[in-house]
Amino acid sequence: MRLKPVVNPATGVRLLFDWRLARVVDANGVVFDEVVWSGKRSSGALADRLFDLQRGRLSPEARLLSQRFPEAKADGLGAMSDVDWPSLDDEESKMFEAAAPILAKRGVANAAGDTDRRLDMLVSAAAELRAAWTTSEARCIEWTGLFLAEVDLDAQRADIPAAVAGADSMESAAAELGVNPPVHSPSEAEWQVLHDHAHGVVDLTARLDAHEEAIRVMAHQYSPSLAALIGPLGAARLIVLAGGRERLARMPSGSLQVLGAHAAMAAHRRGAPPPKHGAILFSMPQISRSPRWVRGKIARFLAGKASIAVRCDHFGGETWTAEQVAEIHQETEAIKAKFPHPPKRGR
């Protein structure tokens, strides 16, 4: 929006308006026509008007005048600098003061319509849940392993919480896991707590899955191309880290490449070498499973593609098809094949 008075060069006639009235004024300040809000005035109706005005729409009076004077240039902010504009009387300022909180409350309620905010809540909740899950799950495994010395804590790891949660004593848990009963059994109170803890882990696992499924659904809807390219969970995390889809779409691909590498970027500013990729890009197998010396090249390439993908999503471009995405992934393989050996040192 411009702050300078907008004057139609052909005629110099401007259409000025605020919530009370609209006027058609020429460059010398001569008023040609004026329409005043004549309907029933209430603070609720005023809040509706202000809501429209804030979105840059014309008031009904201004619309009427723009039909009468099609050559007049509408200037939503012109009334602010017009010295002849009538000031508010007491009743009008009372009404305005009553309408402002209504408008603010409406804005607060409308914040839930913002997908960026909803995605932020969902992704942050899932991240916290995952942090809780890793801690709890590891404790459950160690705790059970202390009693059942013969359980294979790696191969049977996934079965342990469910086995303990489903058993009514340590002995039956041992039978469930196919090992000998413990030499020392936990006390009754101890077993109860251990059993509930395992229940908690099983619950957390189910909740975490549900959370991530919800994120997947949302990311596929909100940013389909980016979700197809780097996976829905990664796409959602990128959007949240950038602070919204719009901000991610406006980001240079170099910034997208290092999203999630804040500490490394801070170190880079103090002279360390720059990070090759952020945490989210690194979670893609194309980068994390590649040899060290091509990771930077692939990350740069994929970040470039990802920034194009999110721009397609945000600015209404065509959604990428699975074939297009597969083509990009093939190209990463080509980059990898081009550099089969580490670069020579000391040059």
Binding site: D18, L50, Q54, S93
Partner: protein
Amino acid sequence: MGAERRKRDGRIEWRRWDPTRSKVAASLMRCKGEAGELLPEVGSTCLYLGASTGSTVSHIHDHVCGAGNHHGGKVVAVDISPRMMRDLVRLAESREGLIPVLGDARLPMVSLHICLRKRVGCTRT
């Protein structure tokens, strides 16, 4: 947030204005000249940008409007965040003359200019 420190002295109530939490309070403390000159005139119209939940705003409001707005002032408090606006709207319900506005102060705000056609008392971020 802890409870606000209040003290009653007859009809007058004192509220603690913490200079470590409010830039306005801090600048009043560090002011070398007449500290009162930094504050807007009693009964004027103020625009406060970046009002947040309104702790500093409430003190400006006390100064400009007084209890029940007996000075007839106005404080227009602008913030961009709906989360902060939630608390600010509740504050405005109990303080006459405090006008909460949810919006981006970098964009010209159409709704603002109407109430600010009078001379603006102060602008802060």
